[in-house]
Assembly symmetry: D2
Homo-oligomer: 337 residues x 4
């Protein structure tokens, strides 16, 4: 942490800061410049958490030097993590495809989808039982009934399953039925929910919030890991910008950025990022090429009749073509698929 | 709802759309242009909620004509609403100031703050007992203990009280102690929480999400109202943009926009919007001038020692000056204060 | 400037940096922390402009401490500037209203507008002769003919005049006819144009770019001032965000931010910021309350027939009401109007 | 174009709109709904360009149906264009790599770079002679002297050359020396410059503005094409968002979006998009995979000593590795390289 004093700060103001730092058991380093004086703080800066140093007299600003997340930070855990969802590994050596409908609508819909995606190469089945919808008048999900269909689909295909949880009751129900929990973009900073999934034993897919910086996203992961659950997989799904040609703007740079700042795996969800079926295939290839550890893709037996997000869902046939098309890219990335 | 066909769409494709519309009990109106053909849909479009018309052959795009929120919509409720928090009215005739510390730290801190803000003109006391913090290592709030201090402060001053709730357990506890519930920016689309506050009897202050459009914000209000609780007050607190000189960007235009689209009252929180104490006063005046129905301001007995958001908190004296400074603006707006 | 080394940076890497700093005639201050070592640079950092220190071995990042603009910076020029446009002062003691049509369409249109706005209280006439339009098929302006009408309008009313310049030829023509030059949002970083208006003798209104940070905006002002023209007035006209309810998002906080970082005056253009006539009045009041030094408002004799930006233009009568409505706010701000 | 009337609009208001439409030689189609009435306009809507229909009584809003760009529009030119820069083709069958220093610093720097990039596989040399820099105190370019070095480098290597032009004088000079002109992000809406490059005979690389929507970008291309120069190549180089981990946010979705809306080729500039050398390689691969027609890459003989943008420049060796690494991706895309 560096404290930048205002131009011509008085000796008294500088001494005052140094006293606060040293009183808290830390060391200070003073650099006097022609225009400004800066004071470096050495030691465990959490000791200063109750001090609003920006408010001390003649302080101009505080510049943080280290990140506030530790357990998710590559600096302290240089090797890339591999997360196990039962026998499915998500990490640097594999390429994991999760697919399925945005919303679970019926047993038949889900089981037929599970069979189709398995045949094409997916290893995990996604399906929403609790749907966060912008309007209260849109379909809200089948809840526990939907989760039972997930279990059936798993039994019939052997696919591992993942479902979004949007509240504590949903979480308590979901852990009985699925293999991995998803925290959606709108709940990325629902900290009480993050702590709860941190206390569960299941691996967690943490989607990036629409307006979340990468730093905030890794701090959200830190909430989960610091409760004792290190099995976190990140998922980039587009951020909100001024561009309206796509539903959101896929921040593809987030993949190399995350790989440089964190050891956690990262997937890409091109379906939600764009909201347009025709863009899913080029963005899937590009996710592989950028270094993603997997994909999450929306697939529906009959997209025009989907109760949620039909425009971005692939048919079984389109999904099969997609898997064929990305296979050589996965090979170039030296990952198994 | 208007359906725009692709250029040179076939007769068959056009007929297909018209059949879907009419099969669902709605009427269609066809306009053939030189370049494109458009089809208007007349009637209750919720009947089409299960139809992904964008996916029908040769459809270019769907243009919605009416908003998806109804109960929060000024079109169907032209008169501005006044929300009562006990004897405190929030609406077009009054100017309501809520003030207090970002986080409740002790009984003494809270009670002294309550007395000071009351003397200056505030009618409601704010204070956080459940703090959503970016990092898991930052102070998380006193929880129920803090709420008890709120009750004490109310008894000693007569101020009405408001507290943010971040989860269902927090909500269940808070309704025992406070007069109004707050949904924070990070939970604006925590739909299960919105439904629960909608089922409570208490009035709700709904802050705008960092990346929420005004349309999404009014849909979030719709979640609360559609559960039976019409007592919703909106609060603009800054949106996320590329500018970093302030913590967020206060969208001051949201005030006249909300007043033209909705009948709900709207407050402004300049403390969170800017994160900088010196900007609170000019932005408070400007909120009054833009037509806001009130303010939410952070006040702390000793900002440099605040456990949360010290840099943006006012001292008692600064808050008193602020209230004096905005008084003539409130008079110009012909509101009582 | 502060150089943050990577965790566990070698002694050799640290020495290397110190050598580069000292070889360039600057001083270094070393702070060794538990996690990272930081090196402060003291002296005139422009001496390092040819050194990409971020690329030196084991450097994590470079943190700038001082702003790159000097002449526009309040730190080196603490008193607020007053800019004179002939006998019209723009600065802390006055409130200047510039008004007129988005595009000049005819002599009659312009002269009638000039008379009307003068009667209501404006002291400067705006009018576009060179229109930057998104589509090449939209009306592009009357060019020099329009400027001649500006001169006529000035003769008939005594109002000072301002016109946007979009290229060097436009600039060369405009200086013959008008009293102040405007650089529009789209040209805020057209550096060759900034240098040319810097070499002219006329005062300049510099609008903020749609995606420009306040720091970039003040650097753009620095381009003009560093060429010898200190007469720069800033104009906030909305930035681009995800919100679509208004054409742009008026960054009202920019007013106190500019007043704290720069000595230059700042106006607000609520017409372009919102694109909606009904929002012009509340945002005008709010600009006064936030501390703006003036307003730029679009006025047209017959908005439904305007060749450009009709939806946001006020009629003569609406403008007159606006001036009446903001008068008490200007008085509260202790400015003359 | 569709006109949406306010709820309960009067018969008179509806008739008024229909009269305006028909008086201008267009046809109207009326759809009366339960809540709102909409009026479709059929015919050449440019006839309505002088009518601000949004201002007519009881009109709620105007919804455009067709794009305002025609010559750049895929609807009217379905086949992808191939642009020739001398003997270098840019289009759907090839993959073109432009590389070179951000700023031209000396003949030796430029010629050595040209030889190195040619050996690695680039076919065009980029180099800035006129540098748009945020601060007036940063290096501004060698101007005509730099262009002469471009010519030398071309003679020695046979590479085609491209240089950014930032003003009319720069353009007049550059056309004497280089094979292709570049319009930079900051000048994307410098319409007078767009018209001038439209009148030149040279092909143009049009970079996307930092805050430009895809629609505005294609309208900027329309400016160039409508002046008679159809040889426009687009270049995505990142947009401005709230994320600060990269200098800009590469909008990778723009590639499939442009390919669906326009026939013009599109390149990607990962160097400017991220500002970080380590991210250039993954984003280059991902650009190929997403369907880009080429890349623009910054290369410098000695990045730590570059006068501009050193942190994002590759060394000769890194560029050679990059070309090797992307080769199999180009082959998968069935393009020649």
């Amino acid at each position: 942490m560096i404290i930048v004093m205002k131009p011509k700060a008085s000796e008294e103001a500088i001494k005052n800061i140094i006293q606060i730092i040293e009183k808290n058991g830390l060391q200070s380093h003073l650099s006097r410049g022609d225009e400004v004086t800066i004071i470096g703080v050495v030691g465990d800066k959490t000791k200063l958490v109750n001090q609003s140093l920006e408010l001390a007299p003649e302080v101009d600003k505080i510049v943080p030097v280290t990140e506030s997340y530790k357990l998710a930070n590559k600096k302290f855990h240089p090797q890339s993590s591999t997360i196990l969802v039962d026998n499915v590994s998500i990490g640097p050596d594999t390429f994991t495809i999760m697919a399925g409908p945005c919303a679970i609508e019926s047993e038949e819909q889900l089981v037929s989808t599970a069979k189709a995606i398995k045949a094409s190469g997916a290893t995990m089945l996604r399906g929403g039982a609790y749907k966060p919808r912008t309007s209260p008048y849109a379909f809200q999900g089948l809840e526990e009934e939907g989760l039972k269909y997930m279990q059936t689909a798993k039994q019939e295909t052997g696919l591992r399953t993942i479902c979004e949880v949007t509240s504590l009751p949903a979480l308590e129900t979901a852990i009985k039925y699925v293999d991995m929990l998803q925290i959606g973009a709108r709940n990325m900073q629902n900290f009480s929910l993050l702590k709860e999934v941190g206390r569960s034993k299941l691996p967690v897919l943490l989607k990036r919030g629409l307006a979340a910086t990468i730093d905030e996203w890794l701090n959200a992961a830190e909430y989960i890991i610091s409760e004792g659950n290190p099995n976190v997989v990140l998922c980039e799904r587009g951020i909100r910008t001024f561009e309206t040609a796509t539903r959101n703007t896929l921040d593809i740079s987030a993949i190399p950025v995350i790989h440089s700042k964190s050891h956690l795996p990262i997937l890409v969800d091109p379906s939600h990022a764009t909201g347009v079926r025709n863009y899913v295939e080029p963005l899937s290839k590009c996710a592989v090429a950028a270094g993603a550890d997997g994909l999450m893709i929306e697939v529906h037996p009959n997209p025009p009749c989907a109760l949620s997000d039909g425009p971005q869902s692939l048919t079984f046939e389109q999904f099969d073509t997609l898997c064929e098309d990305i296979r050589p890219y996965v090979q170039l990335a030296k990952r198994s698929f």
